[in-house]
């Protein structure tokens, strides 16, 4: 099964920011959560992958098609949803469908109308009268109606209430039931990624710090709260980051099972994706 996304040595330079030498693959049939603090480069990376902005790279391939030489073919089976870019507000859902049918070879008007019905979206109402949630639903309806194999979401669920975000996650789960479908989603709402992501890619200040499976994070990463003595006793390789607090240390460890064997009585809690982010940003590395 080919990879949905293949990126090798991608760099994008701005005056005061550089996305530096990013390489990763997104296997088909999986969901990758792209996390990072504000300004880490998530949107920059997504823009570069989609060809919205030009970047230097050795390879960017979407569903096996090279972005440089097969641009249109690469984008035919890709759907993108952004938090800050929408269809013209003067249009109606029907007009959006008519427009998109002229862009995508695989556009399925019946499927689109079905999604409009399922999401309770009025076909002839102008988008400027839609709520934020309704607009996002329309974008999902439009995105899914040309039978894409790759969905790329850039903060698509930010600003939505938990109930609606849950509906979106159900849609994504349904989408990834097909083995050749994949999703790349950037999100600050790490609790959503906890529910759906197979991989987590962490961007920090333009650098890709890691790409790990969610199982790896869930099974191996943990947080220990301890004193100086235990902190000194731990091997430096086991500590991903730490934070010194008033009377203790909070340590992010990357191999809970190993530490449990060495320190059976140690108090250790599993680390969430959010915990890992906070430790990498606000914590310190062991020297």
């Amino acid at each position: 099964m080919e990879n949905a996304i293949q990126v090798r040595n991608l760099t994008k330079k701005y005056k005061d920011f550089t996305l530096d030498n990013i390489s990763f693959t997104l296997p088909s049939g999986t969901v990758m959560g792209l996390i990072g603090e504000n300004g880490a480069g998530k949107s920059t990376l997504i823009n570069a992958i989609l060809g919205v902005s030009d970047a230097e790279y050795d390879q960017v391939a979407l569903l096996g098609h090279d972005l440089r030489t097969q641009t249109k073919l690469a984008k035919e089976d890709v759907a993108a949803i952004f938090s800050d870019s929408h269809y013209d507000y003067g249009m109606t859902p029907l007009a959006v469908g008519e427009m998109l049918s002229r862009f995508f070879r695989n556009w399925d008007q019946q499927k689109y109308l079905g999604y409009l019905k399922r999401f309770h979206l009025p076909e002839k109402k102008r988008l400027k009268k839609f709520s934020t949630g309704m607009r996002v639903k329309l974008e999902f309806a439009a995105a899914l109606s040309h039978n894409p194999k790759l969905l790329i979401l850039d903060e698509a669920t930010s600003g939505l209430d938990p109930v609606f975000r849950d509906e979106i996650l159900d849609i994504l789960r349904e989408f990834t039931e097909e083995e050749d479908h994949a999703v790349l989603m950037s999100s600050h709402i790490t609790s959503d990624l906890d529910k759906i992501a197979d991989y987590i890619a962490y961007l920090h200040e333009g650098k890709l710090l890691f790409v790990k499976t969610y199982d790896d994070i869930r099974d191996n990463y943990g947080i220990i709260t301890c004193g100086r003595q235990l902190f000194d006793a731990l091997s430096r390789d086991d500590i991903s980051a730490y934070r010194k607090e008033a009377y203790s240390y909070k340590i992010l460890v990357n191999d809970r099972a190993k530490l449990r064997r060495i320190f059976p009585d140690i108090e250790m809690v599993p680390a969430s994706v959010e915990d890992i982010m906070l430790f990498y940003v606000k914590g310190e590395k062991v020297k």
């Binding site: 870019s85 427009m99 988008l127």
Partner: protein
Amino acid sequence: MKGIIFKDLYDNFGVWKNLASYIFCFGIILLVSLFSRSEYFYGLMVFMTALGGSAAIESSTEQDELSNFNRLLITFPVTKTEIIRAKYILALCFLGVANVFSFLILLLYVYAYRALTFTQALPYWLIGVCASLILTAFSYVIYSVFGKRRGTIFYCIIVALLACAYGALWSLSRIGMIGAAAGWNVPVILGISFPVSVLLFFLSYVFVMWLYKKRYA
């Protein structure tokens, strides 16, 4: 490209306020044409029609800016070159319709009102075609560089200047200071104007293409 043309057409005619402004604009031209039968008003109506033909970019720029649609558009299976090409193809369609409309006004003034002969009326129409190409070239550059709000201000300033220029040129031609009355070779002038206007239109296309690619680089 068909998707972009459909969207821009929808922005111009599917949004009520934009459709209303077209109806108003061409309605005024028709109304003035029905009640004013002099050569002066004939020339004025021909040039006003040229203005109407250059308006396609304004509505689509406004709608695209409000929704930031361009970022989403580039993710579709369409290249940046095709996006700009589609907009200029639509511009030519608008110009075609506008100049056909102005030719109908020519026929009205020549054969219905007998305000002037066909030979006298044709140079106005040809200048109108050149003016519509040049105005479209400039308006596309202005809206691409400045966006909807400032672009509209610049466009209005240009239109006001052109209106003043028309009045001044009319007066000067009546007293024999310019044009055929002053011994100018009008066919030669027209012969030069047409390729110049086509060249300006093409340069506008090249510049806007370069700007769009730079903006999304």
